[in-house]
Amino acid sequence: MKRRIKPQTAEKIAKGAIWTIALMVIGILIAIIVYILYKGLPVINWSFLTEAPRRMGKEGGISSSIIITLSVTALAVLIAMPFGIGTAFYLAEYTRDNIITRIIRFSAESLAGIPSIVYGLFGYIFFLEILGLGWSVLSGGLTLAIMILPTIIRTSEEAILAVSKTYREVSFSLGGTKWQTIRKAVFPSAVRGITNGIILSVGRSVAETAAVILTVGSDLKMRTMAIHFYQLVMEGISMENAYGTAAILIILIFFINVVANMLIDRFIAKGR
């Protein structure tokens, strides 16, 4: 007879292994964040936030980069959100499986896996060369909108499909129309999943470099925080200011997360 491990022992080993892995992952993440904040926070003060960079970023602050980052991201999300969520509802609620939905799904899935530099190149050719929009927040916002669109479609569609069939049935059985069913029965339950996809996209937009450098550019007063950071490090201009910029990036993303969740709790998920 083969000797078998006692179930209680196996349980202990599994538990121990899972805990170790989880702690390691969390530990690494926390270590990175703590290290960057440790290096970056001392650099941050009022003038770092409110002054424009000088002498290639060696001196001055990063106010222009903060503004560019926020505008590019806001523009991208505001454009991608209605299209992404709309497409997701169309796919999940309004059509049966047909050739069009299969094409949309296949494209969304393929596009989600393409490296961002490809989007950057596309944005450069289409928005700068063909449409002549120039290096601008508009070109960057449009490019990032296209980049995050597949993610928003996929996460939203998953969230919508995860809403149990029974809520739909109940709504219809009460004489609700399709639109009322979507609004009152499906959306409130799907909104958290949809928002998670959007927050993910915001994070990606804020941190994006490749697609942005090709469309917004890397001019000192006209670049996002991620690019500013990249230039400071690559050109060996100022490690201190680079850490300061990174710390603000982290704080910003954290802040967006918290605010987004608070807004959902306050307005949409109210009473749900």
């Binding site: 709504s171 219809f172 004489g175 749900r272």
Partner: protein
Amino acid sequence: MPDSRKSKLTTKSINLYYGSVHALGDVTVEIPECSITAIIGPSGCGKSSFLRLFNRMNDLIPIARVEGEAFLDDSPIYGKDAEDVASLRKKIGMVFQKPNVFPASIYENIVIGPKSHGTENKAVLNEITERCLTKVALWSEVKDSLRKPAQELSSGQQQRLCIARALAVDPEVILMDESCSALDPESTAKIEELMLELAKQYTIIIVTHNMEQAARVSDMSAFMMIDEEKIGRLVEFSPTTEMFLNPKDKRTEDYIEGRFG
């Protein structure tokens, strides 16, 4: 006699197909007004499918196809003369097997139907809430916690809330698909009591696997079964006492005897 009453729902040789599956074959019934009709029969014989014909829930299934006629009072449920499906469903409410409250407050669960039919006035909505919760004997239990999440109620209370939610749009018919099967005996007894009370005003059709329940609450019984060709058939439709004491069809007799065991 129940069959002397005016008939509320009628079907004339109605057939239902799911793709190539012939789920219901030539079903003809007349369901009397303000009565309880119990649909019984083995699993998979088409009871739920039959129930869902009346409020056109089968419309939600792309492969489902209906042939034949069905009427609510004198107006056709299917075909080009049928009214729109939302107004039909407003008149024919449904209670499901599981207590499927929305993840919202008790109050929101009740008013969602009336709101979707255009009632916005707070006072009216409050009145509807109180009236419907009173009808299902839930008002005294929850009147101080209307803003609480409905999921915090016990499952028996949740199912009564679901009935109240269906009543809130002021239906004429209530369809109940095994609505007690997920509940404890005490909650079941409460809901049965409620059905008998509601039958004074509403036409009720229930699907049940519980023969005692059918015997206790229903006026009419419909026994369904699939035939040799796997088509769901209505074998017998008669007053419940008659069906249970003196079934006309051998298959009905076998089934009822087997179930009472």
